[in-house]
Point group: C2
Chain length 207, copies 2
């Protein structure tokens, strides 16, 4: 490994090591994107052993989330949600999403803002969403179009966040989360389970 | 009015006047927001008579659209759509929206990108959407929650645009508009007409 940097951190202090890894992860993800970034490259950038990165953060998805202050590990959450009764799934998804991201200063906002104006940030967000969310769509949705369905749910949720926290449309921004949940749940439920929704998609002539 | 500027334009050339008005409109909307900007202030900034601005562009909403290269006048379009049979409305909305904005280089993208990173641009977009779209919601939707319903449709559509053109999620970005329309139409239809969708919203206890 390379020699210690002049950051003043003491090797061996776990909090300092954690911060150094998160800073390095943010830089490496930002430069290489999510796919091309490796735990090894992040460890080199942070000047620590790769085993230590695994020890502190587990997977690359979890490290990405931690570096961007996203307080959930999406693949793990998908697994947990898959254990719920199907009729509760939509409500849990909407409620968790809005609780985590639908408040002022939400960590997802800086990712959205960066993606909106900066192509490498958009690529990084796409690759993260594909790896953490879309690649696990089949765990939640037992349909051949699971990836499309999850992408549509994600689109709607991103749009609600945009309307609520960025454009601040009063109709969305001034409502409590408890008021928005029952409105959004039927839509998400439909994307999750309606067998006809996307069934006729590849053959637009068939009704 | 003030003396001509040193832009080299010849007063009296309609194309030059139009361009001067559009440039002035963009500046005034960007600085004052949509609500506080006036046709008069834009005319002063463009060094032309306010009557000429009205003559070229009609309403403030239409001038805003022209200045930001949005090729539709939303209030006029809402009136035209209101004449359609209710069961065609959702399809028309989705198809027009995706045709106009769902292609690379869409004019709405620069508004979204600016709003995402710049508070005055977000305010300007909010005020324009309120004036051009939300204030006309009752023309399309015969329900007490017409504004919320339009805001939800708008949220979903903005999210689809974000996923398609900014994040470029392949599930949304790689599909033809004709493939996305039948998937999105039932959702929009539901927001437009489902009487139960938002009916129990103010009293979450009632089912």
């Amino acid at each position: 490994m390379s020699t210690p940097r002049k950051t003043g951190r003491r090797p061996g202090d776990p909090a300092v090591t954690r911060t150094a890894i998160l800073d390095a992860a943010k830089r490496v993800f930002g430069e290489a994107g999510f796919e091309r970034a490796t735990i090894r490259a992040i460890a080199v950038e942070a000047n620590v052993d790769p085993a230590l990165v695994h020890h502190h953060f587990g997977t690359k998805q979890a490290l990405f989330a931690a570096a961007h202050e996203i307080p959930i590990d999406v693949p793990q959450l998908v697994l947990a949600l898959a254990g719920l009764p199907k009729e509760q799934l939509a409500e849990q998804i909407v409620r968790m999403y809005l609780s985590i991201f639908g408040e002022p200063g939400s960590p997802a906002l800086s990712l959205l803002r960066a993606a909106a104006t900066n192509d490498p940030a958009a690529l990084m967000l796409r690759e993260y969403l594909e790896s953490a969310l879309l690649d696990n769509a089949h765990v939640l949705i037992d349909q051949p179009d699971a990836r499309l369905r999850i992408a549509l749910i994600g689109s709607h949720m991103i749009g609600v966040l945009f309307a609520r926290e960025i454009v601040a449309l009063p109709e969305i921004a001034d409502r409590k989360i408890d008021e928005l949940v029952p409105v959004l749940v039927p839509m998400v439920q439909r994307y999750l389970t309606d067998p006809n929704l996307v069934g006729h998609l590849p053959k637009p002539g068939i009704e």
